[in-house]
Amino acid sequence: MSDKSIKDPTRRSALKLLGAGAGLAAASSFIPGISRFAHAEGAGPIKLGFQMHSTGIGASYGRWYDRTTQAAVARINEMGGINGREVVIVTEDDGTDPKRGAEVVEKFATQHNCDMVFGTLFSHVVYGSAPRAGELKIPYFVCSEGHHVASGALNRYSMQPGITDVRSQVQAMAPFIANNLGKKITMVYPDFAFGHDHRDYFTAAIEAQGGEVVASIAIPPTETSFTRYFPNIPRETEVLYHVMVGPAVLTFVKELGEFFGPQRPEIFGFLDSLEAVGLNTPGLEFLEGTYFWEGNPRHAQADQSEFDKSFRAAVGVNEMGASIDDPNDISTYSHMFSCWETLNVIKKGMEASGYKGPKDRQSLIEAVEAMTAFEHSDDHPQGAKVMNGKTHQVFGHQFISKVTNGKMVVEHTTSIEDGFYEDAVDYTTQSF
């Protein structure tokens, strides 16, 4: 911050300026705002503010993020909590809206007296909320897969230690696609920032593998029918790369099937399109034999790890990726592990920094920045990871699955290194 600027006076100093200090002391017990300064250090439970997409476009994700969070916290508390203290989750709905997201961060920090905030998924909510977290100096752990944190657009208080970002995911797909599916790619993506990230990062990554994007077809977000876009797919296309989100994906797949019939190119998509949607949904039969990126395999694989078994049991997901209680309630398995793993990173960070209360928030950030790797374990059931403390971003394995008899079977697991890229920021050089 510029030295020339006038630092923001606190309300207390403003009151002193008014000569009301003595009166304030006498009245403090009657003014609810004053009580927030009396937050006891090191006593009582650790309060984690969970910014949840309960309503709005992210609600299906939010429901599963909540279940995962509750399961993770129950496990942490069973193991004795953090630094001997119980962990309590305070949940607020952000409506998947950036304005409300910022308000919720403020509420966690100044009304609920939370120790930190975590759990945001949708990128626009992260962008809207992170500035307030930085101003309020409260750690903000996002579970979003957006490239926002690693791009350097946010601030030192924002971290993403539980899930790989989209740039890394997209980049890691390129070698498999170029070597196994084809080198002439047509991309179909939604015409907003998430789609543009795919377009930009995948185009560069596939060119590095000797392939090329022969056509980029951006679909306006208000579109409900896609047939008129398909004639723009060049005949030379060897691989159709698609990433569609929202309810229109069902129409997209159905119309794609009607357009191509049995004579189709190889098809590769991101499972973001079908999170919380069953592959047995009518209209999705066309996906048989196509490939998907998965952040964590939805269907239990033949070589399923013990960690994945434990994780599924804890969050209440069966081997087909649906709720144990309701087979029609499909999980967001490719993303929801991020809440689990983030909470375990927070636990490690608090233990490493000897966290007692809000005055130790900076030590917590430094402790997470100092982390370098996470072992594949019950704490990290999705897989091993490498943490980049400078960019506040974690890197992990990605999975490429083929739809075979209605089940997604993992064909390839990328190395962590496949997703590495040059650092765009060094948050550790920023002041708190």
Binding site: L15, I31, E103, E106, S123, Y127, P131
Partner: protein, 315 residues
Amino acid sequence: MTKNSLYSHCLHFGTIALLVALFFLLPAYHVGNLSRIMVLAVYAMGFNLLFGYTGLLSLGHALFFATGMYGLGMAMNTFGLPSELALIVGVVCAILVSTAIGLLALRTTGVAFMIVTLMFAQAGYLTVLYFGSYTRGDEGFVIQQAERIFAGVDITGETSRYFAALILFSIVFLLIAYLVRSPFGRTLVAIRENEERTKMLGYDTVRHKLLAVIISGSISGLAGAAYALLFGYVGATFATVQYSIFPLLWVLLGGAGTTLGPLIGVVFMFYLIDLSSELTQAYMLIAGVVLVLLTLFAPQGLAGEIRRKVFKWLP
């Protein structure tokens, strides 16, 4: 000074004094909320000038709010302008856009005016997405804390942000109070009540309505620019139809055609959502029921009902 005028002065300056006092009395969370509420109330006041006083229902005011927001945000992030200049850029952009929209949309009336403004706003939203390389589309972008210095003051802190919002609110609040009591404002009310008769009396109603659109759009744009500057985020969400409906709700709840109504409406809606969301995830249902009840039993809005039943002088 007439008695009503004296009451009006007391009400307006009293409201500002109350907002100053609340800063010292309220807990930090509510102080933060009030900062936000005051900026949104500026947006609502801009809308109220057109809807409440002129009788023109726009469903596209998010376009003006977002224009101010992106005008400031891109001036700072893309062109590196200081915040003071960027604020001017944001407002100038809003003036230009509202002039253009006014010239086109005022060729229509009634329902057609609503639809035309709605469609322009939707076009604006899609334009933001289309130029995503510059605007970052739906994700939006952050204005870094270090850049948010205004007139040498770091406006990212609790105190400075609150008083920046209060100064902005007070200026627009008093300006609107003056405007609606001026001959210009009374002509707008006359247009609202009976445009044909106003025209027959010799007033250039087209010019007055165009000016109302421009002033209303510019104030909304100013609110958008201030919101971006004070809270550090610029995003396409603010250009969606939802953010065109919000000021309509705020003004209807608070009282259309009253100077205090927009502030009351924003406070009411903000805390209705905030408090009901603590009770249930179906908080929008609670909000909906309350809105229906208010519409049934207080059709003129909260301030409007107070004016109808108690204080006839309420401006």
